[in-house]
C-alpha cells in the first residue's frame, strides 16, 4: 500500500479531487452569500452594534 501511495497514478488525482470538493463547497457558499436578502445581511452586520 505504501508504495502505491507514493508512486501510483491515483495519488496524482488527489489534489484535483481535493480542489473539486473545495471549489464545489466554496461556490455553493458564494452563491448563498450573494443571494442573501439585503435586509437580512444588514441585520446580521449590525448585531455587534446593538446595545439591546
Amino acid at each position: 500500500m505504501y508504495k502505491r501511495v507514493l508512486y501510483e497514478n491515483w495519488a496524482d488525482w488527489v489534489p484535483y479531487l481535493a480542489f473539486g470538493v473545495t471549489a464545489l463547497v466554496f461556490l455553493s457558499f458564494v452563491v448563498r452569500a450573494f443571494t442573501l436578502r439585503r435586509e437580512r445581511a444588514d441585520h446580521m452586520a449590525r448585531l455587534p452594534l446593538e446595545e439591546e
Binding site: Y2, T22, F26
Partner: protein
C-alpha cells in the same frame, strides 16, 4: 428570526473573567516577548547560554509556547468571553466553568514554564509539552467548549453572528488537531513517545502546526476583528456577504495546507503538491477578509488619525494581509527551496505574531480596559507612542529577517556553473554573514517589547483611575422553541446536502471505477447536476431556508464545520498513517537504535537540538552537495518523534554518523568554537558530568516495541548491559583519541546517537537496481512499473 419576545430580563455579563484573561495575557505576553529578546541575544552572544536550563534549545520552545498559548491564548479568551456574551445577549452559562477555565489555563502555562527549561519535552514544535500537560490542555479546552456551547444554547439572540462562527470553528478544530497530534504512549510521568513516526509524524505534526496558526492564531482573532472593529469605528462590517465567503473558504481551505511545511522533503510528492495548491488558494479568502476589515472604516478614516484603537486594528489587519500574502508565496516549491530552514520564515511568522496578533491584542486591550474599569484611557499619547515604536520594531525585525533569510538561502544554495560544487561549502561562512541582521532583530524585538511594557503601564494607570464594573443590559428573552430546533434529520436529509454528496460520490466513482463504469458515473454526475439545478430553481426558497436555519442552530452548524475541517485532514493523513512499517517501504530502511543510542536520542530531543538542526536532506542539488544523498522516507520510520526540523541555524545532521571521530563530537559539545570557529552554538558542559538515564530504558524500549519498532526480546539486564558495553567501547575509543569520559555520562550516549545518524539497511532489490558507481538520481527512482521491469529482467 421567527422568535417572538416573550419577556424582558436584565442580565449582568461576566466581565470579571474577561478582565482576568486580559491581565493574564499582558503578563504572559511580557514574559514571552522577554524570552524572545533573550534568545535573540543568545544567537548573537553564545555566552548568554548561562546554564543548561537557560540554553537556547530549551528556551526557544518556552518563547513560542508562551507567545502562542499564553499571550494570544489568553487574549483570545478575553475577546471571546466579552463578545460571545454580548452577541448571545446572555451571561456565560457557568461561572464555575469560567473559573476552572481561567485557573486551569494559567496552571498549564506555569507547568509549561517549569518543565520546558528542565528539558522535559516531546520534541515537536508548538507541541513540546509533556503528556500530563497535554491531558490538562485537552480537559481545560473541553471546559471552555462546554461553557461556550452552553452559552450558545441559552442565548437570547436567535442569529449567530459571523464572529461566533469563527469561535465555533476554533474550538472544534483546535480540539481535533491537538488531540490527534499529541497521541502518545507514556514511558514515565514526564516522558512519552508519540504514536506516529517519521513521515507520518511529520505530516500529522505540520497538519497540526500549520493549523495551530490557522485556528489558534487566525480564526479566533478574525472573530474578534469582526466584532470589535465595527464597535471601534461604530459602523457595521463592510460586507456581511463577504464575511460568509471569508469564513467558509478559510475553514475549507486552511486545513489542507499543512504539507507546505515539508516541501522538497521525503514527503510523497502528491501531498507536497496538495499543500502548495491549497496554500495558493488561501490568497483569495485571506485578502477578502483583510479588505472586509479595512473597508469597514469607510467614511470614518479620520478615526485613523485620532483613535489609537483604530490605528492598532487597521495596522493589524494590514499585517494580516501582508502575512497571508507572504505565506502562500513561501509555499511555492521553488520559493520554498530558498526560504525553508532560513530566517525568512522567522520574519514571516513574526509579521503575523507581532503584527497581526500583537497589534490586535493592543487594540483590544486599549478598547476594553476603559470599559471594564469605567474610566478613560490614561494617556492617548502613550498609546500613540506605543503604536509607532511597535510598528517600527516589527518593520526592523521583519526586514532584517527577510534580508538574513534570503542572503543565507542564496549562499547555501549557490553552486558553480556546472552544478558540481558549492560556492560556500562552509556552513559557518553563511552564518557569519547574517550576524548583523541577527543584531537588527534584537533592536526590533526590544522596541516592540518596550512598546508592550508601555501599554501595560498605561493600562495599569487606566485601571487605577476606575474600578471593575460589570455591565448589565435589559434583553428580550426569546421563545425557546423558536431556535435550535433543527435536528440531524432536518440538517442532513434535504436537497442541498443530498445533491452535493451525490455529486461528490459520482465524481469519485468517475475517478476510481474501471473504464466503462467511470463514464457511466460521469454521465450520472451530469444528470444529477441537471436535476439539482432544476430543483434549486423550483425550490430556491427551501434551499435558502435550510441555510438560514443553519445560522440559527448552533449544533448542526458545528457538526457541518467539523465535517469541513475533518475532511481535509482525513484525505491527507489516512493514506499515510494507515500504512504499516518497514515491510511497505521498498527503499532504504532505518537501522534500529541500540539502547544507548536511544538514550542519546532522548537527550538530543530534550536539549532541543531540533530548534537549530534539521535531519532532512531535501531533494535539491545544493542540499545533496552539502550534506550527502537526499533523505528517504524509510530512513526515519523508527523516529518517535521525527526530527526533520524547520530551521537550520546550524547544518543538517541527517548523515552526520561516521563523518567525524568521537573526539570531534566531544570537543564540539564541550566548546563548539574549538571545532567550528564562529559558531553560535551553546556549550553543553553538563553532558560531561550528568549520567544518562539507564533505569527507564526498559520501559522506553517496551513502548518502542509496542509502537512497531522491531527490537529483539531483551530483559532489563540485557538492555542495561548492552548499553554499558557500547558506552565502554565509546569511552575507550575516546581515550585512544586523547579524551576522557566516564562511560555512564550523557556525552557518551549522545555521541552514540550522533554516530548512528544516517545509518540504514538497503533491501536486496534496491542494490540490484543501483549499479555501482552511479549516484542516486534526485527524483525518487523506484516506481512500481520500473521495479517490476527490473525484477523480471535482472
Amino acid at each position: 428570526m421567527t422568535s417572538a419576545p416573550a419577556a424582558k430580563t436584565v442580565i449582568t455579563f461576566d466581565d470579571r473573567t474577561v478582565r482576568r484573561f486580559m491581565l493574564a495575557s499582558i503578563l504572559w505576553g511580557a514574559v514571552g516577548m522577554l524570552a524572545g529578546v533573550f534568545i535573540a541575544l543568545q544567537l548573537n552572544f553564545h555566552e548568554l547560554n548561562l546554564a543548561s536550563w537557560l540554553s537556547f534549545g530549551r528556551l526557544r520552545p518556552l518563547h513560542t509556547n508562551a507567545v502562542i498559548f499564553a499571550f494570544v491564548g489568553n487574549m483570545m479568551f478575553a475577546g471571546v468571553y466579552y463578545s460571545a456574551q454580548r452577541l448571545c445577549k446572555a451571561r456565560m452559562a457557568s461561572d464555575f466553568l469560567s473559573n476552572v477555565h481561567f485557573w486551569g489555563w494559567q496552571l498549564i502555562i506555569v507547568a509549561a514554564a517549569v518543565t520546558l527549561p528542565l528539558g522535559l519535552t516531546r520534541g515537536q514544535e508548538y507541541a513540546e509539552l509533556i503528556w500530563p500537560i497535554n491531558v490538562a490542555v485537552a480537559l481545560i479546552w473541553g471546559v471552555f467548549a462546554v461553557n461556550f456551547f452552553w452559552t450558545l444554547a441559552k442565548r437570547n439572540e436567535p442569529s449567530l453572528y459571523v464572529a461566533l462562527w469563527f469561535y465555533i470553528a476554533t474550538i472544534i478544530t483546535v480540539a481535533m488537531l491537538y488531540i490527534v497530534n499529541h497521541l502518545s504512549i507514556p514511558t514515565s510521568w514526564t516522558h512519552s513517545y508519540t504514536l506516529f513516526a517519521g513521515v507520518q509524524n511529520a505530516l500529522v505534526q505540520w497538519w497540526y502546526g500549520h493549523n495551530a496558526v490557522a485556528f489558534f492564531l487566525t480564526t479566533p482573532i478574525l472573530g474578534i476583528m469582526y466584532y470589535f472593529l465595527p464597535k471601534a469605528v461604530e459602523r457595521p462590517v463592510y460586507s456581511y456577504r463577504l464575511s460568509i465567503v471569508h469564513f467558509w473558504s478559510l475553514v475549507f481551505i486552511y486545513i489542507w495546507a499543512g504539507p507546505h511545511h515539508l516541501l522538497n522533503t521525503a514527503l510523497p510528492k502528491w501531498l507536497q503538491m496538495l499543500g502548495m495548491f491549497f496554500s495558493l488558494m488561501l490568497w483569495a479568502p485571506s485578502w477578502g477578509g483583510m479588505l472586509n476589515g479595512l473597508l469597514t472604516l469607510r467614511g470614518a478614516w479620520d478615526k485613523l488619525r485620532t483613535d489609537p484603537v483604530v490605528k492598532f486594528y487597521i495596522a493589524a489587519v494590514t499585517f494580516y494581509g501582508m502575512s497571508t500574502f507572504e505565506g502562500p508565496l513561501l509555499s511555492i516549491r521553488a520559493v520554498n527551496a530558498l526560504s525553508h530552514y532560513s530566517d525568512w520564515t522567522i520574519g514571516h511568522v513574526h509579521a503575523g505574531a507581532l503584527g497581526w496578533n500583537g497589534l490586535m491584542a493592543a487594540g483590544l486591550f486599549y478598547w476594553l480596559t476603559p470599559k471594564l474599569y469605567g474610566s478613560r484611557l490614561h494617556s492617548v499619547a502613550w498609546a500613540n507612542f506605543h503604536f509607532w515604536i511597535a510598528t517600527i520594531g516589527i518593520l526592523i525585525y521583519v526586514a532584517s529577517m527577510w534580508v538574513s533569510g534570503i542572503m543565507q538561502g542564496l549562499m547555501l544554495n549557490a553552486t558553480n556553473a556546472q552544478g558540481t560544487a558549492l560556492v560556500y561549502p562552509n556552513f559557518i561562512e553563511t552564518l557569519i554573514s547574517i550576524r548583523a541582521m541577527m543584531g537588527f532583530r534584537i533592536i526590533g524585538g526590544t522596541l516592540y517589547l518596550a512598546g508592550f511594557l508601555l501599554m501595560a503601564l498605561n493600562l495599569w494607570m487606566t485601571m487605577r483611575k476606575g474600578k471593575p464594573v460589570e455591565e448589565s443590559r435589559e434583553v428580550a428573552v426569546i421563545d425557546r422553541g423558536a431556535k435550535d430546533t433543527m435536528g440531524m434529520r432536518e440538517t442532513f436529509l434535504n436537497d442541498p446536502v443530498a445533491y452535493m454528496f451525490a455529486g461528490l460520490f459520482l465524481v469519485l466513482a468517475w475517478l476510481f471505477l474501471p473504464p466503462g463504469a467511470d463514464i457511466a458515473a460521469l454521465l450520472c454526475a451530469g444528470f444529477f447536476s441537471v436535476i439539482a439545478v432544476k430543483k434549486f430553481r423550483e425550490g430556491h426558497g427551501r434551499w435558502s431556508g435550510w441555510y438560514d436555519s443553519l445560522l440559527n442552530n448552533w449544533l448542526p452548524f458545528t457538526v457541518l464545520t467539523f465535517v469541513a475541517v475533518a475532511l481535509g485532514g482525513l484525505i491527507q493523513i489516512i493514506p499515510t498513517v494507515t500504512v504499516n512499517r518497514a515491510k511497505n517501504v521498498e527503499d532504504r530502511i532505518q537501522q534500529v537504535y541500540t539502547p544507548l543510542e536511544l538514550a542519546g536520542r532522548d537527550l538530543y530531543v530534550s536539549e532541543g537540538c531540533y530548534n537549530c538542526h534539521s535531519q532532512m536532506i531535501r531533494t535539491m542539488l545544493p542540499d545533496v552537495l552539502r550534506y550527502g544523498d537526499y533523505s528517504r522516507l524509510g530512513e526515519s520510520i523508527y523516529d518517535h518523534p521525527f526530527q526533520w526540523g524547520s530551521k537550520r541555524t546550524g547544518p543538517d545532521l541527517a548523515r552526520l554518523g561516521g563523518k567525524y571521530p568521537h573526539s570531534w563530537h566531544y570537543d564540539h559539545m564541550m566548546e563548539p568554537r574549538s571545532t567550528s570557529v564562529g559558531s553560535n552554538m551553546p556549550s553543553y558542559p553538563h553532558l560531561f558530568t550528568d549520567k544518562f538515564d539507564q533505569k527507564s530504558l526498559l520501559r522506553k524500549i517496551a513502548v518502542m516495541t509496542r509502537l512497531g519498532v522491531p527490537y529483539p526480546a531483551m530483559t532489563a539486564d540485557e538492555i542495561k548491559m548492552q548499553a554499558l558495553e557500547q558506552a565502554v567501547k565509546i569511552a575507550e575509543e575516546l581515550k585512544a583519541q586523547g579524551k576522557v569520559a566516564a562511560p555512564d555520562t550523557q556525552i557518551v550516549a549522545l555521541i552514540a546517537y550522533l554516530q548512528k545518524l544516517g545509518k540504514f539497511d538497503t533491501p536486496e532489490v534496491e542494490r540490484k537496481l543501483t549499479p555501482h558507481g552511479v549516484p542516486f538520481p534526485l527524483q525518487p527512482a523506484l516506481p512500481d512499473s520500473h521495479r517490476k521491469t527490473v525484477s523480471q529482467n535482472p
